[in-house]
Structures are given as C-alpha cells and as structure tokens.
C-alpha cells in the first residue's frame, strides 16, 4: 500500500499543533491587552464638552471646594452637576461677555439645561454611591485623579472592576481623615494616621466590600 501522506506531513502536523496552541495564547494575550488598554477602559479620554470648563482654574486657581458645585456628594449616590444658576452666581458678574460662556447664558435664557458629556462612565449594571465613599474616608482624588491639574476634565483611572476591587479588597492604604476628603495632592500613605486606625474610626466592615450585590443588583 502506497504512502498516503508525504514525509513533510509530519512536520506540518506538529507545526499546526504548536502553532494552534501558540495562537490561542497570543489570542488571549491580545484580548487581555486590548481589554485593559486605554482604548477600552477610556483612561485619559478627554471628551469635548459644550463649555470647556477648567477644573484647574476653578479649583487650584480660585480655590473653590468640590462641594460648591457637586452638592450631592455627601448625601446622595450621585455627586451632582451644578445647575446653570450655580454657574451664573459668579458669571453674571464675571466674564459676562466671554464667548466660551455663551452656552451657559443661552441655557439660562432659554431655560434649557447644558448637556455635559459624562467622563466617568460606569456600566449601567454597576451602582456606585458617592455618599458611602466620601463619608468613609475615600477622597475625590482616589477615583478622579488630580482634578486641580485638569484644564479639561479627563478620566485618570481605568474604572475597571479589577481597579475597583483592588481598593475594596484592601481599603486601608486609600483612606483619609474626614477633613482631607476633598484635598488634592494628599498622599494617604504619608499620613500620620495609619490606615487600619481609620478603618476602625469609620467603622468600615470589610465583610461585604467584595460581595457582588454591593455594586451589582
């Protein structure tokens, strides 16, 4: 009986097998890389806003506290964006003719809200509560980065589940005393109060921090 397969079939088969296995590994690596890349997580994304609002100017330049505009942060799940009236408390006096503030004046005039583009966008099945975080020693900076250095708001952290869990599993290094919540450029690691003491002070129970229903429901 003649040989059906030529000799080189052996090497072809072994190449195919190794290549296939290697291909799967490559595929997984590519998927992981894409999944954690800036393209997918949106980190450093800087969407164009109707008004080029500068946190850098308002926070570090003028020294406004975060809560002047984000009023709900301590009492609501949603930090809140300021109504047009809040903008106009100052801008009815200052920069009253600036072109970049035209949408704000139009909003007031026409009684139509400004449509801001969401920068920190969690998936719809994730329920994040601002109030539980800021009341338990998690500072604004921990998730939003150095807002005081942003001429245009960008997303600084990946906001992936892995990133959330890194803190939910081990919150101590990220806790701040109550008076430093809105502080920018503050390093909890260098603080005089150790994390485990803050954990006690805030009476944080770690039992449910990594449970699914803490964030998903």
């Amino acid at each position: 009986m003649p040989q059906i397969f030529p000799r080189r079939a052996n090497s072809l088969v072994s190449m195919a097998l190794w290549g296939g296995a290697f291909g799967v590994v490559i595929l997984i690596l590519v998927a992981v890389t894409i999944g954690s890349s800036a393209h997918d997580t949106g980190v450093y994304a800087t969407p164009e806003q109707p008004v080029p609002f500068s946190h850098e100017h308002h926070v570090s330049g003028l020294g406004l506290d975060c809560q002047y505009c984000h009023t709900g942060v301590e009492k609501s799940d949603f930090a809140g964006l300021p109504p047009t009236y809040t903008c106009m408390t100052c801008h009815s006096q200052l920069w009253t003719n600036a072109e970049m503030l035209e949408p704000v004046r139009q909003s007031l005039k026409r009684d139509e809200p400004i449509k801001w583009v969401r920068v920190h966008d969690l998936p719809d099945f994730t329920y994040f509560s601002h109030r539980i975080h800021v009341n338990n020693g998690v500072g604004c900076e921990s998730c939003h980065g150095r807002v005081d250095e942003m001429p245009i708001t960008t997303q600084q952290k990946p906001l992936t589940m892995q990133w959330c869990l890194s803190c939910h599993r081990n919150p101590e290094p990220n806790l701040r005393p109550a008076d430093k919540i809105t502080a920018m450029g503050y390093d909890p690691a260098k603080d005089s109060i150790p994390g485990h003491e803050l954990l006690e002070r805030y009476a944080i129970r770690k039992d449910n921090l990594t449970e699914c229903s803490t964030c998903h429901r």
């Binding site: 047009t84 009684d111 009341n135 338990n136 449910n208 229903s213 429901r217």
Partner: protein, 1041 residues
C-alpha cells in the same frame, strides 16, 4: 393544557375517598394525575419545543452558535456609548439628584380614594406605595393603585383635544364653549345634561352644583358601571334615608358575608382585609380567632379565607337572606324553598346570636335592595350598630343624581340638546338593553372628558383629555369619608385637564389654573384660621385632618319589612344556568384594560392572564363535555345576545352557574387592551344587571388560555400546612415535620458568617389572602417586564413572586389556601453550586445574589432550583423591539433592566437593603427593625410578609421564626431556606357540617392525623430522614370546611 375527562373525575373521587389527611392540589389536572399534567410538570419550561418550528440539524445548530458567538464577541469590543449628564437650570429647593422624594397623593377605585405615597426620581413618578397615615390603606397598596403608575406613561392615553374625530386645540374648544355658555344662559340650560361616574370629591361636587344652579334646567345623571345603588337603596328602605355602612372588622368575632368580596372589591377593602386578618392572629393566647362564614356565588378571595364557605347561585342569595331573616325572627315572607340546609344554617345563626355585639353580616354590593335591608336589619338585631357596623352619610354624592335609564329615555325622546360625559364610558359600560350607543348618536352636541379616547370619546363631538391622577390637583373621599388630596408629581404629559379645570371651562369658557381652583374651594371651607398651615399640612399628610364623616345611629323604620319587594319570586326554568357578571380583579370595570401589569397579573382564583374565560363548575363542564379552553356559545334567555367564549372549570363554582368578568373585549382603546377577552357588558341589563339566565352550547373550537396555575408546580410534597385552632392549641408544633439531620458538620442557624445582618423572611399563611398586591409591587419595584399571553402560556411569565393557590377537599366545593412563593435565599442554595460562571453567589448577610452581567444563560440554576422561582429572559422583553415594551420612565433607576438571555429572580429588594445599609453606615446607627421593608411586604394589606434580621433575637421576623407554626418549604433537602412559612390556622365551627348537596362529593372521609398524611405524601429521601429521627407525635387536621 387540557382539562379532565369523566373517567378522571371518577379517579379523583376514588383517590380523595381513600386519602387520609388533607390533600392539597392546584388544578383538576393535577388531581386527576392526567397525562398532560405529567408532561407539563416534567419540563422545566413547558412548551419549549413548540417554538422550534423549523427542523434543526446539528450542523446548522453549530453554525448558528459559532456565528452568534462571533457576533457577540465583536460587539463586546469598544467603549459603551457616550452618555450625558443633564443638570437642572434651576434646581428645585430641597432636591437632591439621585435620591427619591415622596409625595402623598391618592388613587381612586370606583370613585373612592386610596391614599398613596408616590416615589419620584427627579420629578418622575416611579413607584406608588400606601400612605401609612391614610385610613383606607394604612401603608398597604392594592394592585390597581400600584399599576396606575404604568398607565401614566401609557402611550395610548388620549393625547389631544378631538373634534369630530380630528385633532383640535383646546383654544378652539374654549371658543365653542363660550358660545354654548351664552346659549345655556339664555335657555337656563334647557336640554343640557351632565353624566358623571360616582363622585366623592367635595370640590367637584361644589363646582357641579354651581353649574346646576347657574343653569337650573340642566340635569345631572350618574352612571357607574360597578354601581352601589343597592347599598343606599337598602339603607333608605330600612332607615328612610340613604346611609353608607362602614364595617369595623377590628371589633368583629363572627362575620357572615352574603356574597360580599369585602377584601377585594368593596370600598375600603384594604382596610377591611387588614382589620379582619388582624382578628385572625390571636392564636397563641386564649384569644378568640375571628370566624368567617361566606355564602357566595363565585369563588372570591374573601371566600377562600372563610372557615365555612357555602356556594350558592347568585339568584338564590336573596332566598338565603330571607331564610336567615326568618331565623332571626324578622317579619319577612319565607322563601319557597330554603336556600341553605338547616344543618348549615342553624349553627351559623347560633354562632351569630351568641356573639351578638361582635358579629356582623356583610351584604355584597351587587345584590338587591332587599338583601341589603335584611342584612342590616339582622345587624341591628345583633346589636352591631355602633359596634361592628357604623353608619355615615353616603360618601358617593352621585346617589342623588338621576339614573342612566332616565337619561336614555330623554335622549331617545330628543329632549337632550347637549350631553357632557365626565369620566364615564357609557357607550361601553351602559346596560345593553338601554341601547345607549343609538341614543347617544341622537344627541346634537356631545362632549366627553376622559383619560382615553374610548368608545364614548370616539362618538363625541368634542373629546377633552383628562389628567392622570398623578398629574392632577383634586380631592376625593375615602370609604369612611376622609378627604384625601391628589397632587401632581409631573406636568400633564399629554396636556390633560383636571376635573375642576374642565368644570371651570364649562362655566366660564376659560382655562384656569388647576391648583388655584382646588385651593379656592378649600379657602372657602377654611375661611377662619391659618389657611397656609392647614393646606401645607394636608398636602404633606395626603388627607384633610378630621374630615371623616361622623357616625350616625339610625333607627329602623316601622314598616320597612312589608315594603320589600323580592326579585327571587321570579322563577327560572329548571335547565337555566345563571350567568353572573363581576368586576374583574385585574381590570376592574375595564378602566385598567390597557395596563399590561394588570393584564398579566394571574387572577387570584383562576390564575388566568390576558383573558376573561367563562368560569364554570367542574360538574357543569362534565355535563357539557367541556375542557379548559373549549369555546362555548353563551346565549341569554331574555334577549338575543350571544357570546362565544372559552371556558375555564373552576372548582368551587355553584353547580349550575357560570361567571364572566367585565372589562374585556375592547376595540380601539390601545395596544394592550384591544382584542383581549370578550365583552361581558352585553349581558348587563337594567333588569338583570349582575346575573341572568343563559344557555350554553358547545362549539367545536378550542383556545389556549394563558393560565399560570400549573406553572412552576412542585408535585407530591407537603408544601402547604394548615390546621384548625383547636388542633393547633392541642398540638402547636404540628407543622414541624422532622428536618434533615444527616449533615456531618454542625450547621448553626443562621449560618455563622461574618456579617452585621442576616436577612430572612416569614410568610404567614393564615394572613395571606392572595390579593396580588405583592406581585404588582414587585413588578413595579424591580422592573419586571410584561411578556404577553403567548409567552405566559409557555410558562415564561417573569413575576419574581407568585401566589400558588391550592385547593383542598372535593373538586366541587374545595377549601382554598394561598401561598406566596419567592426566592427562598437558601443558605445551601442548590442553584449556586451548578452555575458554571459563578453568576449566582451568596452574600455574608444571606442573600442569594444574581449577577446579571456574569450570567450566560445556561439555566442550570433554574433546573436545580427546587422551588422553581428563577425566571429566564427568553427574549428581549424590555427593549424597543419587544411586543409589550414598557415605557422607559417607569423603570426604577435603582435596579438593572435585564436583557435577553439572562436569568433573574427575587433579590430581597437588594437595592432597598443597600440604601438602608448606606444610610445606617453614614449615620452610625444600626438599621432599626421594621424600617427596611421589601416591596412585597410594604404592599401587603394583611402584613402576611415580614422581612428583617434573623440574627436579632428581638426582631419581628425572628419572633415569627421561633413560632411553633414556623416551617420551611422542602426543608428536608437541607437547603436551609431563609424564607419560611407560618402554617395556616383557621377557626371552623365544629357544629357546621360540610354541605352535602354536591353530586360528586366523595363520601365523608375519615380524617387521620397529618403525620400519616405526610408519610403518604413524601418520597424516599424523607423516609430516610425519619430513620434518624422518628417523628414526634404531631397531630392536626387540615382543611376547615
């Protein structure tokens, strides 16, 4: 699913005859162990095969799977779509974006107010709850009121003023109205008629009176489809003036209902259910458990709670009242033949008499004047006046208006020049013999104000859209006369007008501010004192303080009895079958027909959805050879009317009676209501409004009914446990069956986990009346989709809580018991072990969590769930492509909207738990017991559902868990459910014998102890359990009839 044959009925009879102890069953098919039931039972999701219409080979299936995987993978790449944040321009004071606000308002059922708290998210009403300060609700909420929030966003609601079928502006109507006003001023309103529904609003009544004074020749007529004229006529007969009875079940020990469904369809029903069921709780001391006797024509939830239920055809109810009157020595002519055997009647009469002062007789709203007069006269004999029944002036002021038949006569005679129809739909609901449609067409100028452009609106010259109750400023009275306010949570979405605005437009021809109109009325009422404080206080509370009518103590007229006239003198032909009409427990008189939540709500007794089948007794079904879904032609004997309708054999129906529910068979109303069921109003006539003789004719057709009665059935286990008070006091632990002890490891209860709370629930089967309030509450709270009749008939309804309805006893007159079943949050949850992707997990506080974004839809969890409480999204029921898509604004923003291919189930309202936990954490206070309620618990009128922390020894739920009646469903499986049940306890009268008039009743069976029954009913693994621990002597008799 088909019904049963003659042989199977024989089989049932034999089985029941042999059975020892109580046997609970859910349907006749189950009882007969018919083949189709077995098929249905053995499939996880029945009728799955039916959807694969095309033949599918393995190669094709693999190709499709590969393609769908590739497509799913592709769409997973990339960022989610861009989203926007839209802040206010000027934020309302006190608003905190992201947190809900609550406003007190009301919903009207048949004109009577039910106080509500409406939850709004940034000005968008999302959920309605009961107002704890309101006397009619006490914090509970019924299914109609709950579902009305869906109607607010109903796209089929009337959206514009219509003039002769064309869209018109409100301004042009006002211009026309200006001319009309001048004309009526000139003629003093000659030929002008107003037609309203029942009216309890003081301000609207005042405005209407002002119109009638301004145009003295104008007339006011009333038409309420589910009218209560007999209540007022009965009291007028008895006392000489119309009065409204208000029952005080909180003082009652013995209650007799004469076909009165006071727990579901009478004004004040939520309060009545609450009060009566509270009287059924003192089982643990020597207190008396209230006893309920019901004589009824169609099984109702009130009848299902009864200790003694006697089924009696509607026509015979008056005979029964007369028979009862004779037993109380009232001077009433006795009926030709007794309606109820003496053996049943005399213990009842003795019981009533020996509890005089705390006994009460409640007549049904639809029964005749004579029944009402007799019932109240007996109450007087029983010393009930001022104790268990009090009298107030009529809450519904429209009793003073003229009846519809007079209006129709005037219309036919051409004496009506202009007709204003306000909030009524007489073209659909008027008695058929009046031929209202024809008469209406003859009126030269017809104006209609209503929420829907309905049958009457479409026939009117002008149609003005009405506000939804959540858009309106109004007031209305509750069952006891308490004035309840309605305040808007949102601007009218479709430019609707409030009732006061409409009346003001008639009077002045101008558009007035709805709020100002209401305030103007109340300013007049509170001329003295600080109005601002009064008004703000009333709006906050939802009620005007101390506005309940004061009770009156009427005296009986001397000559009330001889003046009574009896309809029961009318002899029916012997072969006649009585057709009874009833308001539907889901769509009422048809007003809620376009509400998907209500259409899909399994009706309490029949478990039917999306239809009104003809309810028929098993005996009659057998006689005509009818099975469930077989179509019959129902022909009225007194007119030419005939309707073709599928039948539904319902155990407990009187033998020669059939029942059809009102409110169906609509056309041109909306995409939900159209074409659902058959119109029963064609049988509704002036002489026979609620029951008439009919004949049946079997047709050679079959319709599949979407009934959920056998869905999610768990066969052959003792899921339901109930006994009598006497037995319970002898053997308090009768419901405790030997549990599992085979575990090698010690398993403390609750499982020791490092958690602050251990959530659990206890459901009291004594208190559950099966009213469906919890089902709707859950649907609203948890964004549960509407799937439609086809999907329901495939067993794919999505409700997270279902109410299983069990029969016990002979199929003709069984005893009923309800059992709400939801996710049990088992500590050893079988579903968790089998999920290949870990999409269902256990939390430290005992929640069985479902993580939608992980779920890949293998459905292993559902297959492994012994309670069948998991629901699968077979299709995208929520998206824009869905057949019954829900408007987006009604979605609770706190809960994920699930998409196709995802499993879901009860979460114990985890969004509420999280909110409470976060608040407690911030305030450094533990969550107080009772402050955190699940949606189902909150809605329950009888407080049958209690949720809380079972690790807290003092909590309400823990006390119930320690109660001797507490038992776990299927607890022998050692899955350790966190939801447990309290076995039902009834209080039957030993003297009463079971009615023996049934041709098919099995011979009186010897009742054995429940333990014996449980031995028969259990399967092998339980037998093994008992080897380890022999059962303690647990005795008890179930079944109380």
């Amino acid at each position: 699913m088909s019904s049963i044959s003659h042989d199977e009925l024989q089989h049932i009879r034999v089985r029941l005859g042999q059975a020892r102890g109580p046997q609970y069953w859910r349907s006749l098919e189950e009882l007969a162990e018919s083949e189709s039931f077995g098929e249905f039972l053995n499939q996880e999701f029945p009728r799955l095969g039916a959807v694969w219409e095309a033949p599918m080979d393995r190669r094709g299936a693999l190709k499709l799977m590969a393609a769908s995987m590739a497509l799913a993978g592709l769409t997973a790449c990339g960022r989610q779509p861009r989203e926007f944040i839209v802040p206010y321009v000027n934020m309302p004071e006190g608003e905190v974006p992201g947190m809900p606000r609550y406003y007190a308002t009301s919903h009207l059922i048949g004109g009577y107010a039910h106080g509500l708290l409406a939850q709004a998210h940034q000005g968008r009403p999302v959920k309605l709850e009961g107002n704890p300060d309101h006397p009619a609700t006490l914090g509970a909420c019924d299914a109609f009121s709950q579902a009305s929030v869906l109607s607010l966003y109903d796209p089929d609601r009337s959206a514009s003023v219509m003039n002769r079928g064309e869209v018109a502006g409100y301004g042009s109507f006002l211009m026309t109205q200006q001319d009309k006003r001048l004309e009526w001023n000139r003629t003093q309103g000659q030929g002008l008629c107003f037609l309203t529904g029942s009216l309890t609003s003081p301000s609207q009544h005042a405005s209407l009176q002002a119109l009638l004074e301004r145009w003295p020749k104008a007339r006011w007529y009333v038409h309420e489809p589910i009218d209560r004229q007999a209540v007022y006529a009965g009291s007028e007969q008895l006392f000489g003036r119309p009065l409204e009875p208000v029952y005080r079940f909180d003082r009652a020990r013995i209650v007799l209902s004469l076909d009165s469904d006071f727990m579901q369809s009478q004004p004040g029903f939520l309060r009545y259910a609450h009060d009566f069921m509270a009287q059924r709780r003192p089982r643990d001391n020597d207190g008396f458990l209230a006893r309920l006797y019901v004589v009824e024509s169609t099984p109702s939830i009130t009848g299902s709670v009864a200790d003694h239920r006697y089924r009696l055809s509607f026509h015979h109810m008056e005979n029964f009242a007369r028979q009862l009157a004779n037993a109380f020595e009232l001077d009433i002519e006795p009926p030709d033949e007794p309606a109820v055997p003496e053996s049943w009647l005399s213990p009842l009469v003795d019981d009533l008499k020996s509890n005089a002062g705390s006994a009460v007789v409640v007549p049904g709203d639809q029964h005749s004047t004579a029944v009402h007069a007799i019932a109240q006269a007996i109450n007087e004999k029983l010393g009930a006046f001022g104790k268990t029944v009090t009298y107030i002036p009529p809450v519904d002021v429209s009793h003073a208006a003229r009846p519809l038949n007079e209006l129709t006569r005037e219309m036919q005679n051409g004496r009506v020049e202009a007709l204003v129809v306000m909030g009524a739909n007489p073209v659909y609901t008027a008695p058929a013999d009046l031929n209202f449609r024809q008469a209406y067409r003859q009126v030269p100028w017809r104006l209609h104000w209503g929420e829907y452009y309905d049958e009457t609106g479409q026939m009117s010259h002008w149609h003005i859209p009405a506000c939804h109750p959540l858009e309106t400023w109004a007031d209305a009275r509750a069952y006891d006369g308490t004035v309840s306010l309605l305040q808007p949570l949102i601007q009218p979405l479709h430019g609707g007008k409030s009732a006061l605005q409409f009346l003001a437009a008639l009077e002045q021809g101008t558009e007035e501010d709805a709020r100002q109109l209401l305030i103007d009325y109340w300013l007049d009422q509170h001329a003295a004192g600080d109005f601002e404080t009064f008004w703000r206080r009333s709006l906050r509370d939802g009620i005007v303080a101390d506005s309940a009518f004061s009770t009156q103590t009427p005296a009986l007229r001397e000559d009330w009895a001889p003046a009574l006239s009896f309809a029961s003198g009318e002899r029916l032909p012997d072969d006649a079958i009585t057709l009874q009409l009833q308001p539907d427990p889901a769509v009422w008189d048809g007003a809620y027909a376009n509400n998907g939540w209500l259409q899909e709500l399994p009706r309490p007794l029949s478990k039917l959805t999306w239809n009104n089948a003809l309810l028929i007794s098993p005996v009659l079904a057998q006689e005509y050879g009818l099975k469930e879904g077989d179509v019959v032609r129902v022909k009225a004997q007194t007119s030419e009317v005939q309707v073709e309708v599928p039948v539904y054999p319902l155990p407990g129906m009187p033998d020669r009676a059939v029942t059809l529910q009102l409110g169906y068979g609509r056309e041109g109303i909306g995409h939900i209501a159209d074409g659902v069921g058959s119109d029963a109003y064609v049988f509704h006539t002036t002489d026979h409004p609620w029951a008439s003789p009919v004949t049946l004719e079997k047709l050679d057709r079959h319709e599949t009914l979407a009934t959920t009665q056998n869905h999610h059935a768990i066969h052959g286990r003792d899921l339901i446990r109930a006994t009598t008070l006497e037995e319970y006091r002898k053997h308090p632990e009768f419901a405790k069956h030997p549990g599992p002890h085979e575990s090698l490891y010690p398993e403390p209860w609750p499982a020791e986990r490092e958690a602050e709370y251990a959530w659990g629930m206890a459901v009291d089967l004594t208190a559950c009346i099966g009213c469906n309030a919890c089902v709707t509450a859950c649907q609203a709270e948890n964004n549960i989709p509407i799937v439609g009749p086809e999907e329901v008939s495939r067993g794919r309804e999505m409700h997270w809580i279902r109410i299983d309805r069990y029969f016990e006893g002979p199929p003709e007159s069984p005893h009923l018991i309800f059992q709400p079943v939801l996710c049990m949050h088992c500590e050893n949850a079988p579903c968790e072990y089998v999920c290949p992707v870990g999409a269902t997990q256990h939390s430290a506080s005992g929640l069985n969590e479902m993580i939608y974004n992980r779920c890949i839809g293998t459905r292993y969890c559902s297959q492994n769930c012994p309670y069948k409480v998991r629901r699968f999204n077979w299709f995208d029921y929520t998206g824009e492509q869905a057949t019954y898509t829900q408007p987006e604004p009604v979605h609770n923003p706190e809960v994920t909207v699930r998409s196709r291919g995802v499993m879901e189930k009860c979460t114990f309202c985890v969004q509420r738990i999280n909110r409470a936990r976060i608040t407690a954490d911030i305030e450094d206070e533990p969550i107080p017991d009772g402050a955190l309620q699940t949606a189902c618990q909150q809605a329950c009128p009888t407080q049958a559902i209690v949720f809380g922390d079972i690790s807290d020894e003092q909590s309400h739920v823990k006390r119930l868990k320690n109660h001797p009646l507490n038992y776990g469903m299927l607890e022998h499986l050692n899955i350790r459910p966190r939801v447990s049940y309290l076995a039902g306890v009834g209080n039957p009268n030993k003297e009463v014998e079971a009615p023996q008039s049934d041709p098919l009743v099995a011979p009186e069976k010897e009742k054995a102890d429940i333990h014996q029954a449980s031995v028969n009913g259990r399967d092998d693994d339980e037998q093994v359990v008992r080897i380890f621990e022999p059962a303690t002597a647990a005795n008890g008799q179930g079944g109380t009839t």
